[in-house]
């Protein structure tokens, strides 16, 4: 099953006992066994019933040298899309990652430390979390934020469960413009929580249908969950949605999948809970993870929020310090009555996000968002000269939907030949949109990349028109 077949001979076996991660010599082991008072290591495994002890080598690849490991993964990297220009977004965005991020998160004191339960010995992590919570609160327009959730999809599911606890109601109304995979995750969680879900359609502006929303909310609706900018890149009218939700006593949860938008788009201050995927802030695309979810909310709801929280306090001498706090919400104290079963979160990824926010700061984040807006506006205009660009009626951030005459999957396979990964075909998620694809531009998308892609799509449109002209006379006849 593996390329690296198992070779075993005595000499190699002896060499293999030199395992580079294990800091013991055979004489150390012998001395320790003697101190313990057992004859051999097997004595220590005697508690495992004999019939269940494995008396053979595991069939995994043989021990490899570091150089071989690096080589194996470099080979895999070559089989991937390295060097392609990509117009993919849809919940995972390619932004520039300042090099100081990896320089700092690879410090062993961050990388190889544990959850900061021993505050005196973990002030670095705790203060960093406190700063993270501050910046996420500031950017999202909320009062408080937690230390992180697994990702945007599970964070959104947890936000719904939080709203159910706060309101004592059990239903959730969800926008169809929420990321389709987030909706799938929510469905998985909701099924077993007994939370009925209602989905609300979008209008031809690409925004949630407010009339349909109004009639979908009942007095058993705990929350309305929307995404803004939504899956199509369209910015929702959060205030109007909040008013509709609040009028009926439901909470509003806003999911943000593209954090960079917060540099130029007004945050959802009218929301009660914000669930953000912060991958855009300095986290590698990494084929989908690890990413960084985070929940933020109003102060009055903090005790119903899941996830770790760092709080400021003082030590015996009055010196400022930070601790994990409000732990009575969490599983290690409350067990089955906890707000969530979450334990391990995304701490080191949250530190990447933290450093990204600090590097860009108050002015840089705005300028970064403006460049995204400008590139996208240019690209959408260029595409619109040849194809139909949907949802022009509402403002958008850095994504837009292009409808072509030809199936976008077919166009994309031609673009691949030019080292370009085209927009995401939407047929799988939104079959009603026909030959639609979701395109994304960031500050890293150059004008020439856009022009090349537009040119190739235009070729497809011309070919389709020619085809139609050839076909049409036959239809007339």
């Amino acid at each position: 099953m593996f390329e690296h077949a198992l070779e075993s001979n005595q000499a190699e076996k002896r060499l293999n006992t030199l395992m580079r991660y294990l800091p013991k010599s055979p004489s150390d082991r012998a001395a320790m066994l003697k101190a313990i008072g057992v004859r051999s290591i097997d004595d220590l495994f005697a508690p495992i019933p004999a019939q269940y002890r494995l008396n053979r080598d595991l069939a995994v690849p043989r021990q490899m040298a570091e150089s071989e490991i690096v080589d194996w993964f470099k080979q895999r990297a070559k089989e991937n899309a390295d060097g392609y220009t990509s117009f993919l977004g849809a919940g995972a965005y390619l932004h520039y990652r300042p090099v100081v991020i990896d320089a700092l998160v690879q410090r062993g004191e961050f990388l190889t430390s544990y959850t900061p339960y021993q505050a005196e010995f973990a002030q670095g992590t705790l203060q960093a979390i406190f700063e993270f919570q501050t910046m996420v609160s500031e950017l999202t327009g909320m009062d408080v934020a937690n230390a992180s959730m697994y990702d945007g999809s599970t964070g959104a599911a947890e936000a719904i469960m939080m709203a159910v606890r706060i309101t004592g109601r059990h239903g959730a109304v969800i926008a169809r413009t929420l990321h389709p995979e987030y909706r799938e995750v929510i469905a998985t969680y909701a099924t077993h929580q007994g939370i009925p879900l209602t989905t609300v359609a979008y209008t031809d502006s690409g925004r949630i249908d407010l009339k349909a929303l109004e009639s979908a909310i009942t007095d058993q609706t705990a929350c309305v969950l929307i995404q803004s900018p939504n899956f199509f890149g369209t910015i929702e009218d959060v205030e109007a949605i909040a008013e509709i939700a609040h009028k009926r006593g439901a909470l509003l949860i806003v999911s943000i999948a593209e954090a960079v938008s917060l540099g130029i788009v007004e945050p959802p201050r009218a929301a009660d809970i914000v669930s953000m995927e912060a991958q855009s802030f300095g986290v590698p695309l990494g084929f989908g993870g690890p990413y960084c979810g985070v929940l933020a909310t109003k102060e009055k709801f903090v005790r119903q929020m899941p996830g770790r929280l760092a709080g400021q306090t003082v030590d015996k001498n009055g010196k400022r310090g930070f601790v994990l706090t409000l732990a009575t919400r969490e599983q290690h104290i409350r067990r089955e009555k906890a707000t969530s079963n979450i334990c391990t979160n995304q701490a080191l990824v949250a530190l990447m996000v933290n450093i990204f926010m600090v590097v860009n700061g108050k002015i840089g984040l705005r300028e970064l968002a403006k460049q995204n807006l400008a590139k996208t506006a240019y690209a959408a205009d260029q595409f619109a000269r040849h194809s139909k660009v949907l949802f022009a009626g509402a403002p958008r951030f850095n994504e837009f939907v292009v409808v072509t005459s030809e199936d976008p999957a077919a166009i994309n396979s031609r673009l691949l030949g030019h080292q370009i990964v085209g927009g995401l075909p939407l047929k799988k998620f939104y079959p009603e949109l026909g030959h639609a694809a979701l395109w994304c531009c960031t500050e890293l998308t150059t004008r020439s990349m856009i022009d090349t892609a537009v040119g190739l799509v235009a070729q497809s449109e011309r070919a389709a028109r020619t085809m139609k002209e050839v076909e049409e006379p036959e239809v007339v006849r």
Binding site: P61, F73, G124, G286, V421
Partner: protein, 497 residues
């Protein structure tokens, strides 16, 4: 200080304020390239949706950022500095090659939606890791999607529910031993199950007779950690599995303590139907101050149809692909495919070890725990004398007579240059000291730890007040946690003038 430690000494520690306190207008650490497309009128484009101000976001230069986070980092303890004996957390060495290979361009930059044709390398990593983990656990199939251990538990219980559902009755309860980690009951509740507690016997193991009496057709599964949180292998595992299976129930294994078993025994061989692994424990991916983790769930054949989608399949032409058409799947538990970066690291760890290295690792982990047990027996109370595997649990019974509790010993251990052990559980041991050294500790470090623990025990006898006031050598002393919780300050705010 009467008792000096050989491991650590004081050194200069830099003071550092909050990043916001260093901020002032006009400083910056960013630079964007010139815009190559026409500028846009943001007010016109966004209207009332335009954000005008980013409030108190910081403005600082690059050197200040480097110093800020470097100074903060020096206030942390870490595996790279020394032994980190947190029980059930498996704080082992995090190999640096793992970090290197996870950052190779082409792996780090892969977009989750890029076409499969140009994702074969990533798919091969998913497939190879899956194959290795299936072999290591002795199970039949696996999902890598869950993002952490608790997320794996949830996924596992959703599989259990789907399985029972397919038989016409989802059942109502999950049985959980009283020695379990807190996530187990919290997970059962999240999966919509009621929790039924199972008492341990006087050996700290599952009381088989009690289990037999509690087991009935309402019970969906037993969630068992094996070795359990006392570091004890459930000797009656065969009977436990039989009791569950006889009434149609399933055996779930929390794989938090898999570091005691890899290469020595396989859960799939001893009757486990579904289990999760913690790649951030057993398979050396870094804890990073609390995450990210990764919690793959391995299952027997009977549960395979219910695995989260997509799953990786091999096409007839040998290429790999994602399969979405899984009608019996529990659905997705996370967007995309899981914490892929952790898969790379775990696989690099497996490659670096090979079958012999994995086995030697397990043996050394068990050797280290028993060496500590031997060294501290008689000094600290050992509530259960049942043989230990990879971790050992003492109690503060002796020390508490002097008013010193496990938390105080832990705080004093910090002065000696060690991270404390786990205290929060197992709940069946009041005042627990749960110690898991892992295989990564040389004999010298273990000797220093034993020496430190003995020295603290002496201090407790001689001067309990001194231990109660610990830590003495850290940059801050014990923090007021009550005040922190009573009036929470969870973010910085600019001073109002």
């Amino acid at each position: 200080m009467k008792h000096m430690t050989r491991k650590a000494t004081r050194h200069i520690s830099q003071n550092e304020g909050l990043i916001f306190e260093k901020s002032s207008p006009g400083k910056a650490a960013w630079k964007l390239p010139p815009l190559d497309v026409p500028e846009v009128d943001t007010a016109k484009m966004l209207g009332k949706q335009e954000r005008k101000d980013l409030g108190s976001m910081p403005e600082v230069s690059e050197i200040e950022i480097i110093r800020h986070f470097t100074r903060l980092s020096t206030w942390n303890y870490a595996i790279d500095l020394g032994m980190f004996p947190l029980g059930s957390c498996t704080m082992k060495y995090n190999p640096r090659v793992n970090e290197f290979v996870s950052r190779i361009e082409g792996l780090a930059n892969g977009h989750p939606y890029q076409p499969e044709k140009i994702s074969q390398g990533a798919l091969r990593i998913l497939k190879t890791l899956s194959d290795c983990l299936i072999e290591i656990t002795g199970m039949d199939a696996i999902t890598l999607q869950p993002a952490a251990g608790a997320h794996g538990e949830l996924t596992g219980l959703l599989l259990v529910r789907a399985y029972h559902d397919s038989k016409g009755n989802a059942r109502k309860k999950i049985i959980i031993p009283d020695s379990a980690h807190g996530t187990n009951p919290a997970t059962a509740a999240t999966a919509g199950y009621a929790v039924e507690n199972l008492k341990s016997n006087d050996k700290g193991q599952v009381d088989v007779a009690a289990l037999a009496a509690q087991m009935n057709e309402d019970v969906a599964a037993l969630m068992l950690t094996n070795p359990n949180t006392l570091g004890v292998f459930e000797h009656d595992i065969h009977e436990i599995a039989e009791i569950m299976h006889a009434k149609g129930g399933l055996l779930y294994m929390d794989g938090a303590n898999m570091n005691a078993l890899v290469g020595k025994a396989r859960p799939g061989d001893f009757g486990v139907d579904v289990m999760h692994l913690n790649l951030h424990k057993t398979f050396s991916t870094p804890h990073g101050g609390g995450g990210p983790g990764s919690g793959p769930v391995a299952v027997k054949k009977i549960l395979e149809p219910f695995l989260p989608k997509p799953v990786v399949v091999t096409r007839p032409d040998g290429t790999l692909a994602f399969e979405y058409n899984r009608p019996q799947s529990v659905g997705r538990v996370r967007a995309f495919y899981g914490n892929f970066g952790m898969f790379i690291r775990a696989l690099a760890y497996i490659f670096a070890n090979g079958p012999d290295g994995l086995r030697q690792t397990t043996e050394d982990a068990v050797l280290n725990a028993n060496y500590i047990r031997k060294g501290l027996e008689g000094v600290y109370d050992l509530p259960y004398s049942t043989p230990s595997m990879h971790e050992v649990v003492f109690s503060d019974k002796v020390q508490s007579k002097k008013g010193v509790h496990t938390v105080d010993v832990a705080k004093r251990l910090i002065d000696y240059g060690f991270h404390p052990y786990t205290m929060a559980f197992p709940l069946i041991v009041p005042g627990a000291l749960m110690i898991e050294p892992t295989e990564s500790e040389p004999k010298e470090e273990l000797d220093l730890f034993i020496e430190a623990m003995k020295s603290i025990a002496e201090e407790v006898e001689e001067d309990p007040q001194f231990v109660l006031a610990a830590p003495h050598n850290t940059r801050i002393s014990r923090l007021d946690e009550v005040a922190a919780a009573r009036k929470p300050v969870l973010r910085w705010k600019p001073e109002t003038t």
